[in-house]
């Protein structure tokens, strides 16, 4: 029971991060019908931005500012860097291709992802960097849940992502801009005719999706301690799986898919073996796609001739 609970908390932590990332994929797909392959790299740069703030402010052993402020600043830096990259990607890699063939933006996204990965390799070298999280937030502090104790870091990750997802849902459903986002994702041309500034909506979508990815990057750094230039690829792939399993383009789908993948991974690691971890996740995706080609929450699109 204790072990099960522990794995559940692990799954919830991982799942929250995947969900944050998956939201970025899903929102962009919903609006542009584009698989933003570079999203994982945006997340990786967010994690490095957090690391940069940490180093500049003296690291975890001799912090120059209070810890809570430090962590807040790390999140702010990550959000700024990630959303800048996200918006730049939209402007320079995807906007020129708005009216091109379907394959063109996809290839461009793959190219951008490759470029960003190499840029990170050039800037940060291939060594992995340590957030040194246990010194940042003492491991002992935590909240007891039944027989286990949940670390503060994990509580923070779970709570923050839950809050962000609730805010996002409210924003999409309640505000004018959110309504515009929904309208553009439903039918871009019709939305433009109704006077919605489509370009602006797309930029906002990229901005929010990338900011969430940046937050996710710092969270992963805090929980797992390590950041490196290839981290975006695997996490991006997983988050992408989450978005697809949930039904790409659907916001609740992305959240649900993220949690599902997180749990699947945690239980596989706990009960079977970590070698099977990726395999189970990918197999899950293949099975879901075969049974429901549009994902769990996706809506069937009618093709008009």
């Amino acid at each position: 029971m204790e072990f099960f609970l522990q794995q559940t908390v692990n799954g919830l932590t991982l799942g929250s991060v995947y969900a944050l990332l998956a939201l970025g994929y899903s929102m962009v797909y919903g609006i542009l019908k584009l698989l933003n392959f570079a999203h994982g790299e945006v997340y990786m740069f967010g994690a490095f931005a957090g690391y940069g703030v940490l180093t500049v402010l003296g690291g975890s052993s001799a912090p120059l500012v209070p810890i809570w402020l430090m962590i807040l600043l790390m999140f702010v830096a990550a959000v700024v860097v990630s959303s800048t990259i996200g918006v730049a990607l939209e402007r320079f890699a995807y906007r020129p291709l708005r009216n091109s063939t379907r394959i063109a933006p996809l290839i461009s996204a793959v190219g951008a992802s490759f470029f960003l990965q190499a840029a990170a390799l050039l800037l940060f070298t291939a060594n992995s960097r340590s957030y040194d999280a246990p010194n940042l937030i003492a491991i002992q502090t935590g909240i007891p849940i039944g027989p286990i104790r949940v670390w503060m870091v994990r509580v923070m990750v779970i709570v923050t992502s839950a809050v962000l997802m609730i805010l996002l849902t409210l924003w999409v459903n309640r505000t004018r801009t959110g309504k515009a986002v929904r309208a553009v994702s439903f039918d871009r041309e019709a939305a433009a005719m109704m006077g919605i500034d489509v370009d602006k909506v797309i930029v906002i979508t990229f901005l929010i999706g990338s900011a969430l990815a940046g937050v996710g990057g710092v969270m992963v750094g805090l929980v797992f301690g390590r950041v490196f230039h290839l981290m975006g690829f695997v996490a991006g792939l997983k988050a992408f799986t989450a978005a697809v399993v949930g039904g790409i383009g659907s916001i609740p789908g992305a959240m649900f898919g993220g949690l599902l993948i997180g749990f699947a991974e945690a239980y596989t690691t706990g009960y079977i073996s970590s070698t099977f971890q990726n395999l189970i996740v990918f197999a899950l995706l293949v099975v879901v796609l075969l049974v429901r080609p549009r994902g769990l929450f996706g809506r069937e699109e009618l093709v008009k001739v």
Binding site: L35, L106, G111, A283, V305
Partner: protein, 474 residues
């Protein structure tokens, strides 16, 4: 360009194709006048003479290029002709390579003779292709891409982690796990060993010629036309009673068989196989070749493979890489400015700017010119006015790199004098980063280049070098 309707665009397409414009026009018109036979003989002669003209080690590059061309041709069938976005293509290549490696090394007690192994490998790869085409019955477009991408990922996971088949046999090490399989034997065609670079090169060249001939005929056949119909509009094709599912299956099978064959040669050339040979970066390389050359055109795809396979090899040698970089820079300058006055302004401005920066920074801080220049012709010339950093080289070039990228991006969105003003510091920083950092790290530069080529290519010429422009009708 003024906006015109889709119908007008389609109507004018032939006319547009005949009319060349710009500075390449005379060369292209002259090239068009040559009879096809001559062109073929010329290309083939050059390819056949290649190993005789270059040193032994360089033949290896030729082999890489030919393998890439073969793979690009296979991918072109699936993506370029049938229009199925297959991101799992590299798995068939890996499958062929691993299959050959297993039956031609000490992984299994019995070694298979080559003439038995190769047909079986090709058939098995084709079968695997048929299997992967089954989801394409229901999944379309992006979802098919996702599914196939994960197929490729699962393949790499399997060979890396499951070298011993669980539940079957614990002693039999099939794939060697993360260490791969070393010591793969050469092809042995009835006693004739294909064991040198030269022999591998000619084997590949012969196979490639046969393949191109076959694909050319296939493209002109009923099946080829049906594939194109499928690519342009699946729904319409289906209504015209085209057997859509059968054609999808056939495209996957042909692509997979070609990849399997290429894989089995690759295993023999490399004398071993490793999981990372078949990871995503290589898939992107194949895609880059197909896209750059022009998806759908045989000549284009081969040209793309030559470019993508050969240019990165140039980068290994700092001297040649330097030429490539500066020529590329000059071409970009000409393309962005077009007229000679601004080009001259930028060039003069650049050198003046360089001397000023060098003068100011050396007065403030000695270290900024203390580094030693790269030992190539251009670098020595550049040494006079570009900072070659001594201390803290990494930190400063990192910032310079980021600012240079921001500069390149802002050149795209600025016009007129502002563009010239942005270009000068951007080019200066680019040269600075190149001389201080990029020239010393060819493998990273190659990755950067690939990524940038894909993005830029999509933005300015999505149909590739020799592809035909298509109009998406929605």
């Amino acid at each position: 360009m003024s906006q015109i309707g889709v119908d007008q665009w389609v109507e004018q397409s032939d006319e547009r194709r005949d009319r060349y414009s710009g500075w390449t026009a005379p060369a292209r018109r002259a090239f068009d006048k040559l009879p096809t036979g001559w062109k073929l003989v010329g290309v083939l002669g050059a390819a056949a003479a290649f190993p005789l003209l270059v040193p032994q080690g360089e033949i290896r590059i030729g082999i890489t290029v030919l393998l890439l061309a073969m793979l690009a041709l296979g991918l072109n069938v699936v993506v370029g002709w049938a229009g199925l976005l297959d991101l799992g293509f590299v798995a068939f290549y890996g499958f062929g390579a691993y299959f050959y490696a297993i039956v031609a090394s000490d992984q299994l007690p019995a070694h298979w003779p080559t003439w038995v192994a190769i047909p079986i490998i090709v058939a098995a790869a084709a079968l695997l292709g048929a299997l992967l085409s089954l989801p394409s019955r229901r999944l379309v477009g992006d979802y098919l891409a996702i599914m196939t991408l994960f197929f490729a990922q699962i393949f790499v996971e399997l060979v890396r982690n499951f070298e011993r088949l669980p539940f079957v046999s614990e002693d039999l090490d099939l794939t060697g796990g993360p260490n791969g399989i070393p010591g793969v034997e050469a092809w042995d065609l009835f006693g004739f060993q294909i064991n040198s670079f030269k022999r591998h090169y000619y084997l590949l060249l012969i196979l490639l010629v046969v393949l191109i001939a076959g694909l050319h005929n296939l493209n002109a056949s009923r099946t080829g036309r049906a594939w194109r119909a499928l690519r342009e509009d699946t729904l319409a094709a289906e209504h015209m009673t085209t057997p859509v599912n059968k054609l999808k299956l056939l495209a996957f099978v042909v692509g997979a068989a070609i990849a399997g064959l290429a894989g089995s040669i690759f295993a023999a050339v490399q004398v071993g196989v490793f999981p990372n040979n078949f990871a995503l970066p290589f898939l992107i390389t194949i895609y880059a070749a197909v896209i750059l050359g022009g998806s759908g055109s045989i000549a284009g795809v081969v040209l793309g493979a030559v470019a993508i396979g050969y240019i990165p090899e140039l980068l290994r040698d700092p001297g040649k890489a330097g030429w490539l970089f500066y020529i590329g820079l000059a071409v970009m300058l000409v393309v962005t400015m077009k007229r000679w006055q601004p080009i001259a302004a930028v060039t003069i401005g650049l050198v003046v700017f360089g001397f000023v920066v060098r003068f100011v920074s050396s007065a403030i801080w000695d270290e900024s010119i203390m580094g030693t220049a790269n030992d190539t012709f251009i670098s020595r010339f550049v040494d006079g006015w570009v900072l070659i950093l001594g201390e803290q080289q990494d930190l400063i070039t990192n910032y310079a790199f980021v600012v240079a990228i921001a500069g390149v991006l802002s050149v795209v969105v600025t016009r007129g004098w502002l563009r010239i003003a942005t270009l000068i510091p951007t080019i200066y920083l680019a040269i600075l980063v190149w001389e201080n950092k990029l020239a010393l790290q060819p493998s990273i530069t190659r990755q950067l280049l690939f990524g940038a080529v894909l993005v830029v290519m999509m933005a300015i010429r999505p149909q590739g070098l020799l592809g035909t422009r298509r109009v998406e009708i929605t």
